[in-house]
């Protein structure tokens, strides 16, 4: 019987080989470290809109600084700072409408603040009071997801439901570089691709997952390219460039809303602080690396651009900071004026009603 294994090598016909597909990965950057923009890519934003973006980033940073200080004073519990990631958070949040459904990880307080989620509730949550997660009715923001990457699936499900209902709603999930190694990242991306769902995935690639650097997380050159394997677009953006993040998100949302399916946006940024207040990043990364990223600060470069445009000077910067500080002062006051939670509240929302055993346990409190 004919058996290819018995044909001497040099007598075998050459196997035809064809290129089935090839792929490219795009990177988007608009605003550089010196504050210069690529005019061709710059979104059309008025001076007022740019000031609004700047103030949202300033509010986020002011919140973050205060949260760290409060934690050091024992007034908050463990807290994950997002210093350096303001552009990724604010730039993406500003692309959304209140009808959209948002699925944050635990480090997206800049998203919440930009949309107007009460800062007092964010402090309340990090002070260990679950009532901080009671999202006001005007938003569809899921609770912070502490179990890394597991919320990606909820966004996919919400997108499926929105499509079933024919609502013009987009679901957005934010997660870190570490989350891209999880099975739920794969399962969620795969489902989103198969069903072409209206969902946008935003990875804040801050290059660290606690002490594990990006190369310890993946063998791929970018995270954005992972989307290709699921049949939809992935793009890397300069995550410290608020205009690039904003533009990429606006495009992805518009595409999702018009039936074009999912997009994966990798925001390449850097976690300037420790992983949390319980971490000491100096154990695993060099001060030089951190210093290099300080030069790429997202707020600094926006200020440089705005100064060129006559939208920023030191006086305005100081005045804006004072306003943000006052807002945060007020939020801290409001948080600390709240009555403490009472033990019976533990029982309130396990299920819609207490079962007889729970009712008995409540009585025994």
């Amino acid at each position: 019987m004919f058996n290819a294994a018995y044909i001497p090598r040099d007598e075998q016909p050459a196997m035809p080989e064809e290129l089935l597909a090839s792929f490219a990965v795009r990177r988007l950057g608009i605003l550089d470290e010196q504050g210069n923009v690529d005019e061709a890519l710059m979104p059309s934003l008025s001076g007022t809109e740019i000031m609004r973006i700047y103030e949202a980033m300033l509010l986020a940073r002011t919140f973050d600084e205060r949260a760290l200080a409060l934690q050091r004073e024992g007034r908050l519990g463990t807290y994950p700072p997002f210093l350096g990631q303001e552009a990724s958070q604010v730039g993406s949040a500003l692309a959304l409408t209140p009808a959209d459904w948002l699925f944050p990880s635990y480090r997206e307080m800049g998203v919440h603040l930009t949309l107007g989620y009460p800062a007092s509730q964010l402090f309340q949550y990090w002070a260990g009071d679950e009532r901080g997660q009671l999202t006001p009715d005007r938003f569809n923001i899921f609770p912070f997801c502490v179990s890394v990457g597991t919320h990606i699936l909820h966004a996919v499900g919400a997108a499926m439901a929105a499509r079933y209902r024919q609502d013009p709603v987009v679901a957005v999930a934010w997660f870190g570089d570490g989350a891209t190694s999880k099975g739920d990242f794969h399962e969620g991306f795969n489902m989103a691709g198969v069903f072409r769902l209206p969902v946008v995935f935003i990875c804040q690639n801050n290059q660290w997952a606690i002490s594990i650097p990006l190369k310890g997380q993946t063998a791929t050159a970018t995270l954005a390219q992972k989307a290709i394997a699921y049949g939809f677009d992935g793009v890397q953006v300069d995550g410290n460039d608020v205009f690039a993040v904003h533009r990429a998100t606006v495009e992805a949302i518009a595409k999702a809303r018009s039936g074009g399916g999912p997009t994966f946006i990798e925001c390449l940024t850097y976690r300037m602080g420790d992983h949390t207040t319980a971490d000491d990043a100096s154990r695993y990364r060099s001060p030089d690396e951190v210093a290099a990223w300080r030069e790429r600060d997202p707020i600094l470069r926006l200020e440089r651009y705005m100064a060129q445009q006559g939208l920023w000077d030191e006086g305005y910067g100081k005045e804006a900071k004072t306003r943000m500080t006052a807002t945060i002062d007020e939020a801290v006051r409001a948080m600390e004026a709240l009555p403490p939670p009472v033990a019976a509240e533990m029982f309130e929302h396990t299920c819609a009603t207490l079962n007889p055993r729970q009712a008995g346990q409540l009585k025994e409190l």
Binding site: E130, V156, G157, D184, M191, H349
Partner: protein, 320 residues
């Protein structure tokens, strides 16, 4: 009234409730065109369309995770896990999210989702297709765990589960799928979750069982004065019915298919010890599988509780 088996009863309940409630969407592997590997969802995709009866990729964590997002959004997803042996990839989603979304969001988001899955032994299937791991899921406040014992209870419980405001895990004993035919009303009737059923009354011994073990218990009791409790819902467990019965009979035997250590029988025995010990005349006995990895079908008769073992346990407690 029609004589239906459990597959037909569940199919009927799904069909009727989908007609009544446009929020119900079924998703799972092979649930659409193929009607499910046990044919439980047969004909539903033809009737309700591929947007409501969705064939998905092989992706258990996503099935439950997506159902959570869908439920929070306002639908009533029914996710089918093809066999309970493959639910563990979705365990994280059940424990980390489905069971606690209401609590974590302080009531802002809820999770009225139903996870249906065939479970238990008796169909000569490959490895991991026959285990009973219900106890894992009874350790999750926030999730209801329901096990019907026949076609009638299956329909009534499923309709309750589909209307429950919180997540429900609905475990369908595969051995019963086609074993029993019963009168199942066409009408809308529900069996409340969290309430056990007295399968028969007696004054000498209380036998507690659920799912496929109930049928063996009924064979084992004979003419002895046994009161048989069909639990129907494991979480929340109707301890009040159990305690009231044990206080009358003074004896209890608990029967389950799952392995003994850490099984749900232990929870029942501990509750009886804690709240009815002064009424007991005999030790509380458990008839269960031994603490070993479940064997393939050739050894299952030695593994599963038998009618004889149940009968012997009843004799044992009756001696006191």
């Amino acid at each position: 009234m029609a004589q239906l088996n459990m597959v037909q009863a569940i199919n009927l309940a799904l069909r009727q409730e989908m007609e009544r409630d446009g929020r119900i969407v079924i998703l799972g592997e092979d649930v659409g065109r193929d009607g499910g590997v046990f044919r439980v969802t047969e004909g539903l995709q033809e009737c309700f369309g591929a947007e409501r009866v969705i064939d998905t990729p092989l992706s258990e964590s996503a099935l439950v995770g997506m159902a959570i997002g869908m439920a929070a959004y306002g639908l009533r997803p029914v996710a089918e896990i093809q066999f309970m042996g493959f639910i563990y990839a979705a365990f994280d989603q059940l424990f980390t999210h489905a069971a606690r979304l209401r609590s974590r969001s302080r009531g802002r988001f809820t999770c009225p989702l139903l996870v249906r899955t065939p479970y238990g032994a008796g169909i000569k299937a490959p490895e991991l297709h026959e285990e009973s791991s219900e106890a894992f899921f009874c350790h999750m406040p926030g999730i209801k765990v329901v096990v019907p014992s026949g076609p009638y209870t299956a329909k009534g419980l499923l309709l309750s589960a589909l209307r429950d405001p919180d997540p429900v895990l609905f475990l369908e004993p595969t051995r019963l799928y086609r074993l029993i035919r019963e009168e199942v009303p066409e009408d809308d009737y529900t069996i409340p979750l969290g309430q056990a059923r007295l399968a028969c009354q007696g004054k000498d011994v209380t036998v507690i069982a659920w799912g496929s073990m109930l049928e063996r218990v009924m064979k084992a009791i004979g003419p002895r004065g046994a009161e048989v409790i069909d639990l129907l819902t494991l979480n929340p467990c109707d301890m009040e019915t159990i305690l009231a019965s044990v206080r009358r009979t003074g004896r209890a035997v608990i029967v389950h298919e799952a392995v003994k250590s850490g099984g749900f029988g232990a929870e029942i025995a501990a509750t009886i010890a804690g709240e009815a010990i002064l009424y007991l005349r005999a030790p509380v006995l458990r008839v269960t599988a031994p603490d070993v990895t479940m064997p393939l079908s050739r050894l299952q008769d030695s593994y599963l509780p038998t009618v004889e073992q149940i009968s012997r346990a009843i004799d044992d407690v009756m001696r006191y």
